[in-house]
Every structure is written in structure tokens, then in C-alpha cells.
Amino acid sequence: MISFPISINEGARLLAEIEQRSGQRLSACYQCGRCTSTCVAAFAFDYPPHRLMRLLQVGMVREVLASKTAQLCLDCMTCSMRCPMKIDVAGVIETAKAVADEAGLQDTERNVRLFRRGFLNNVRRHGRLHEAGLLIWFNFKTNNPMNDVKLLPLVLRKKNFHIFPPRIKNRRQVRRLFREINGSGKQG
């Protein structure tokens, strides 16, 4: 939850960074709530989008960076399309997520982050996604072995579904690509 006191100085700095990177006028938000009204995931957020915008306006950036919202937003951009002030709300959340990533500030929604990490590591290794492999890895990691396994027979009906990982030839190039992004390409 919101913690007090708020460090305005630090808030201001991070806020400026979010404004600059997202290119959005946060001050234009007049709290109409239309973004929240359209969001399909808001029920799972800790701060619905309009609230998140307000937190940013008053400089409570830490709360935003560490929020579930930043991790759970689907980037579907529905909110951005509906905002009467033409603010790219999804872009703001996206930026917050990136800033949080870089600052190592996220400590919530472990599973979601784990999934994303697993997904990308999977791609890093094979060049393509190996769906079954990801599922098994994720279930193992989250200690929830039965998650979605009921779906497997259904998927297996699709005959040439890969049980073994598909692999591209030039995997070295893909790994180079990951290294280019973050040096090691391992952490997420």
C-alpha cells in the first residue's frame, strides 16, 4: 500500500523520467476514469489505471513502479484509445514497468515475471518458443504441476504439435541478439 512520507524529490525525478520516456502529458489527466472503465484487467490491479495516473501526478512514483498494475497490464491499449485527453495510458504503464525493471523495483507478481522470463529464456535457447517446454518449466517453478495440463491432450490433437523443442539453425545469432540487449541475457 501507499507508504508515507512520500519522497517528493525522488518522485519528481522518476516522474520526469516517465514523462520523458513515454512522451505523455501526465498533467492532462483529469481523472475521468474512462481508462479504468474500459480495462479488462483492472479488477486484478492494485491501482486501476486512473488511480495510477493520479499517483504519478502527485509524485508517488515508487508506488507505481512497485505496483501489481505495472506487472499485470496487458498492454492492450484499450485505455489509450478511449482516453478523452488522448493520453497513451498503456504507454505510461509500459514505461513504468520498464523503469521498474531497470531500477529492480518490482517485488510483486512473481509468477507473471517468471512467466515472461521463462518465455524469453526459452526463445533465447531455441530461437523459437517451445510451448510444452515452457508449460512444464513454469509449472515446476511455480510448484503447480497440474496447471493447464488438462489442456495438453487438446493441444496434442493438433497433430504436428511439437513435443520436442523446435530449433532454428542460427541460434548463435539469436543469443548474440540477447547479449546485445542486456549483456548476459539471463536475468529478467
Partner: protein, 651 residues
């Protein structure tokens, strides 16, 4: 013989400018017969001193170094006039706002003041006596648009004994107010207060009412606008028709009901409403069977008055007017395209606020019983959504509709009065209730009538089990909310009315970015259009409610009366003029003139040259900067005057 007077303005000027020294420096200049420093130039003794100097020293030009000309130029012009000198032989030099008040070093300020005065002296040498022209004004006013604004303006002007022509494009006057049920903040019945005024218009000896009519073409200018008015063919002889509505009853061709905002059905031939003024039928050819190739002649056969005439033609009449009031009102934002998530108009039970007014109205299609369009059921859960197409930059409409908050409160109250066990919900962003007794009224909707105000904008509306789900947010709670509604009413924004733009162009009325007609000054000239002799009344100038509309209409009428009661008009002499013998006839000037003040003329055979219509010219001087040979010049701001000023400024 130039006289120079340097004002001290008490210490306002003299504290930083040595006015004596400035006067001395001026005295040394060519043509200066008298130069003195005065304590308060604008005071009675100050003006007397100037007048005395004019008389005794036979001055023919005067330079006054004092405050901004925007402050006292008119004062001193009158002083010159009283002293027997042409008032335009004055040049004011601003040594206060542009000098003493912005500098602190006395020497520097004094030197600058002397320089400014030198500039003024150089300029005044080229002044010419000018006299304000007079033109006779036609003592008749045109009012365009017959809503409450036009009605009120026409009645007020007519009451002063000035004849009025009221032109309304639809078949009846009354405008949007005639379609409202009750009105905030007093809840008096709209027709009850409007209908008597409509009837009075019809009966007034000084008012000529033309419905189904529009302005076709405009020539001339303030004092004498020549206007072509097109009276559109309605296939009904207005003089014969008694409004018995037999034709309407029997006509087999259905047509949309414009008066009821599309709720309910009308016929191809119809009387707009039972309260219509004038109470006559009109036929809409686009819906009539006869005009789409059929054989029907039912209305003609049955009309007891023999009023139906299928061969009627448009008629154009020309009238002259001294002044014009534009009162074209407002239209409605078409929300269906811009808000796809509200159903695009495909859900019958998502209606506009005006349609809801018709459902509430006893004279409406449901006889005043609220019945939702889809199945005629009485709604129990009614959701109102504010700011549709208002305060929404994503659809390009940033402005506030200014009446939505209030009429929603009203409609919520009326809903409860009609259906006591109903519940109204209002999605709003901010409650705007600035008028007298408005806040109290809106509060009552909440406290006495149990309306639930929800602060937030709605995201989507979709169907579920015969109801409409309204997905919104309560931003005060901080979460999404969902309401199952029987009926949803959208407070659609007010736009400029359809015909406003065309009319504005004809009368040189400028429009703002939202299409509303622009007033001369937002505070000081709220009813004057930029074009002389044209006034604005009501919602054509911007969204407003009935009290503000009526107030503005009264003000516009007062301006018209003031203008036309004098019989003749004074025109500014600071206008452009063409030296026709040197004019090349390129008409660059005409292209740039914002007021259409330049026309072509044939001063000699085979030659065309420009001519300025002094009565239209507003003295902007844009033409003279555009003229390649430099032969169109603006009095008061001629090339000579400005060049002299430039040269003197740099000495």
C-alpha cells in the same frame, strides 16, 4: 503650426522624464509653434490650456506626449473638436506606459521621450483633416433564427417601433426550447412560457414572420444590408391553411418526426407540432409518394381549405435592413460514429437527451409517459451519461456543453416524478452548476430525488438479458462499476447549428474553432459580431441556457435599437482609399481584405480599378501592405506617415 504638450501625469511621468526638457527639445523642431509641459493634460484645466493654445497660437496640428493613446486619444480628439480644430489633427505619443513607467534612469528616459515626441511630430506633419462620414440607415432589422433568442430579439426590437423580419428555416418558430419539457432551475413548463411569445411574434404588427425560409444572399453593409430571402416551397399555401391536420391524418406516407427528434413517426405532409407557429402544414417532397413517382393526391383532395398546391415554387424576396441579429442556435453532436463502444446508435434504448425531453413531454410521442423505445416498457433503472462529445479531445471537442449537467439533473428529477419507483444514475466528471440557484437545484436531484451521482466516465455499453450493461468507473471509490440499465440517456454536446457556417460567411461573421459565431470581445462586446451592424443572440455564439440566451437576445436588441434609432450612422474616417489613376487592377487588395470592402469599378473605358467601400472598410490596412504599386492607402496610417515615423525614430 504644431503644438506640443508634454504631460507630467502628476509624477507618473515627471518622476522619470524631465518633461520641461522634452518640451524644450520639441520647441526646437521644424514647424513647432508652441511646446509646453502640462501637469494633468486630461483634466479640465489641462484640456482648457490646450484649447487656449490652439486658439491663440493658431495651431493646426497637435502632439500630446502623455499616456497610451488607447487611454485618452478619444478624450483629446474631442478637446480638439471643441477648440475648433479637426479632431484627426492629433498625434498622441506614449511616454508613460512605453517610457516613464518602464525606465528608471532620468537622463535615458528623458532622451527616449524626446525621441518619441520627435517621431510624433514627424508623423503629425502628414496628418490630414478627416471627417467621420454619415450614412442613412434603413429602419428595419433582420433576425435570423426563430428560437427563443430570435423570438426575444424580434419582440424587443419591434417593441421599440422598429420593423423586424424574422427568418426561420424550419416550419415553425420556437427552436429547441419548444421541444423541451420542463426547464431548469425552476421546472416551469417550456411550452407554457414559450408559446405565448411565439404567438405574440405571429401577431405583432411590426414583425414579419417568414418560416421555411433562409438567407440566400447578402449585399451591402451596416445601415443598408440588401438581403435575398428564399421562401422554400412547401406545397401548402400558408394563407389558406388552417392547420386542421386532416391532410396529416390521411397522408399514407410515413416520414421521420423531426420535431420529436426522431422519436415517433410523422407524415410526408404535416404540421410540425400542435403548438407550431404558424400553425400550417408543410409537405416534404422527399417523403411524399406523389413526388417519388406515385399517384397520390390525398392531401389535396381532402384539404377543406384548398391549400395544397403541388406546383408551388421557391420564392426569393429582397429586403433591406439596417442591422442584423444572428440567432441560429445550436445543433447536436452526432455521437454514433465517435463512440463505437456505446453501441453506435444500434441499441434502441440508448437515446440522446433531446429525445428524452420528447419522452418526458406531454406533447411528445408517448404523451408524456416514459416508454423506452425498444419495447415500450417503462424503465426503472435510467442511466445518464454526461459530456458525450464534450470535454473530449479524442473526438476533437474540448469544450464544455455548459447545460448538460443541469439538464441531466432536471431529467433525473422529472424521471422520479414520472416513475416514483425508478432509480436514476448520473455518470459525471465535474458538476457544473454556476448559475443562480443552479447548485441548489442539482443538489435537490441528489437529496430529494435520490439520484445517484457517480463520478467517472463510462467505458462501454453492451446488451445482457434484455438490459443494457453500463460499464463505468466510480473514481471516488476507485473501481469499476457496472449498472444494468433499462434506458441510457446520453448528454450529447452542443454544436453550432447546421446552417450557421453558411450564414456566418454571408454576413462576414467569424466563427471560433468550434464553429460558434465569434463575438467582438469576450467581455466588452459580447453581442457584437466583428462585422459592423451584425449582432449575435443565443446559442449561436456558444452553448448557453435559456436565461443567458434571453439576456443576450435583449442586449442584441438594445444594440440594434441604439443603432437604428439615430436614423443615420457615423462611419470611421480611418479607411482605405485607392488612387485609381495609378491602380493596376491586380486586385491583390481585394484578395486580402477580410471584410469584402473592395470592389472593382470601371473609372474609364477598358480599365478596371479597385474601389474601397468606406462603409465596409474597418481600417486594418492589410490591403495597403499587399498593393504592389502602393496606391491603396489607409488614412491615418499612410506610407508617408509611417515612413516619416520610421525615419524620425532613427535620428
Amino acid at each position: 503650426m504644431i503644438g506640443v504638450f508634454i504631460c507630467q501625469c502628476g509624477t507618473n511621468i515627471s518622476a522619470t522624464v524631465d518633461t520641461g526638457k522634452v518640451a524644450q527639445a520639441a520647441a526646437a523642431m521644424r514647424g513647432v509653434a508652441d511646446a509646453e509641459s502640462i501637469q494633468y493634460a486630461c483634466s479640465d484645466p489641462g484640456q482648457a490650456a490646450i484649447a487656449a493654445a490652439i486658439r491663440h497660437k493658431r495651431l493646426d496640428r497637435v502632439v500630446i506626449g502623455a499616456c497610451s493613446p488607447r487611454m485618452h486619444e478619444a478624450t483629446f480628439r474631442r478637446a480638439l473638436d471643441r477648440a475648433g480644430l479637426n479632431p484627426f489633427m492629433l498625434e498622441m505619443v506614449n511616454i508613460r506606459e512605453h517610457c516613464s513607467w518602464i525606465h528608471s534612469d532620468v537622463d535615458q528616459a528623458t532622451e527616449k521621450a524626446a525621441g518619441l515626441v520627435r517621431k510624433g511630430i514627424a508623423r503629425v506633419r502628414h496628418h490630414l483633416p478627416l471627417s467621420a462620414g454619415k450614412t442613412a440607415a434603413v429602419r428595419r432589422a433582420l433576425v435570423v433564427g426563430g428560437g427563443i433568442a430570435g423570438i426575444q430579439a424580434a419582440l424587443d426590437i419591434a417593441a421599440a417601433g422598429i420593423p423586424v423580419t424574422l427568418v426561420e428555416k424550419s416550419p415553425t418558430i420556437g427552436g429547441n426550447m419548444a421541444r423541451l419539457d420542463k426547464t431548469f432551475p425552476t421546472l416551469d413548463c417550456s411550452s407554457c412560457i414559450l408559446t405565448p411569445l411565439m404567438v405574440e411574434v405571429k401577431q405583432h404588427e411590426n414583425i414579419e414572420l417568414m418560416v421555411n425560409s433562409e438567407v440566400d444572399d447578402v449585399h451591402g453593409h451596416v445601415g443598408n444590408f440588401e438581403v435575398d430571402i428564399r421562401r422554400k416551397a412547401t406545397c401548402v399555401d400558408e394563407k389558406k391553411c388552417s392547420g386542421c391536420m386532416i391532410c396529416q391524418e390521411k397522408c399514407p406516407a410515413k416520414a421521420p418526426d423531426d420535431f420529436n427528434a426522431g422519436m415517433g413517426q410523422s407524415k410526408a405532409i404535416s404540421v410540425a407540432s400542435p403548438q407550431a407557429v404558424p400553425l400550417v402544414a408543410s409537405l416534404r417532397k422527399e417523403h411524399c409518394r406523389r413526388f417519388s413517382g406515385g399517384k397520390c393526391r390525398v392531401c389535396q383532395k381532402l384539404c377543406p381549405a384548398g391549400a395544397v398546391d403541388y406546383g408551388q415554387q421557391d420564392e426569393v424576396v429582397r429586403q433591406s435592413f439596417g442591422a442584423v441579429v444572428a440567432a441560429t442556435g445550436y445543433g447536436f453532436y452526432d455521437w454514433t460514429g465517435a463512440y463505437p463502444t456505446y453501441g453506435m446508435g444500434l441499441y434502441p434504448d440508448v437515446i440522446t437527451s433531446l429525445q428524452y425531453e420528447r419522452l418526458l413531454s406531454a406533447s411528445g410521442p408517448t404523451g408524456g409517459h416514459i416508454r423506452r423505445p425498444s419495447d415500450g416498457a417503462e424503465p426503472r433503472q435510467v442511466v445518464f451519461i454526461s459530456c458525450i462529445g464534450s470535454r473530449d479531445e479524442s473526438v476533437g471537442r474540448p469544450q464544455c456543453c455548459s447545460v448538460g449537467c443541469m439538464y441531466i439533473a432536471k431529467q433525473a428529477i422529472l424521471t422520479k416524478e414520472h416513475i416514483p419507483d425508478s432509480q436514476s444514475y448520473i455518470f459525471y466528471i465535474d458538476m457544473r452548476a454556476g448559475g443562480k440557484n443552479y447548485e441548489e437545484f442539482a443538489r435537490r436531484a441528489q437529496t430529494r430525488y435520490g439520484t445517484l451521482y457517480i463520478r467517472g466516465r463510462v467505458g462501454k455499453i453492451f446488451p445482457r438479458w434484455g438490459k443494457l450493461v453500463v460499464m463505468g468507473t466510480d473514481t471516488l471509490v476507485g473501481d469499476q462499476v457496472e449498472i444494468e440499465a433499462d434506458l441510457v440517456v446520453l448528454a450529447t454536446g452542443l454544436t453550432a447549428s447546421d446552417g450557421a457556417g453558411g450564414l456566418a460567411r454571408k454576413f462576414n461573421i467569424s466563427c471560433d474553432e468550434n464553429g460558434f459565431m465569434a463575438e467582438g470581445h469576450p467581455k466588452l462586446k459580447p453581442v457584437e459580431a466583428e462585422a459592423a451592424g451584425v449582432f449575435l443572440a443565443g446559442a449561436c455564439q456558444g452553448p448557453k441556457d435559456i436565461p443567458a440566451t434571453v439576456a443576450q437576445a435583449g442586449a442584441a436588441a438594445a444594440k440594434v435599437i441604439g443603432l437604428l434609432s439615430r436614423g443615420e450612422l457615423e462611419t470611421s474616417p480611418m479607411v482605405a482609399a485607392v488612387s485609381q489613376s495609378k491602380c493596376s487592377g491586380c486586385f491583390k487588395c481585394r484578395d486580402v481584405c477580410p471584410f469584402g470592402a473592395i470592389e472593382d469599378e470601371r473609372p474609364a473605358a477598358g480599365r478596371t480599378a479597385a474601389r474601397v467601400l468606406a462603409s465596409l472598410c474597418r481600417g486594418c490596412g492589410i490591403c495597403s501592405a499587399a498593393c504592389p504599386p502602393g496606391v491603396i492607402s489607409l488614412s491615418g496610417y499612410t506610407d508617408k506617415q509611417l515612413l516619416a515615423e520610421v525615419v524620425a525614430a532613427l535620428r
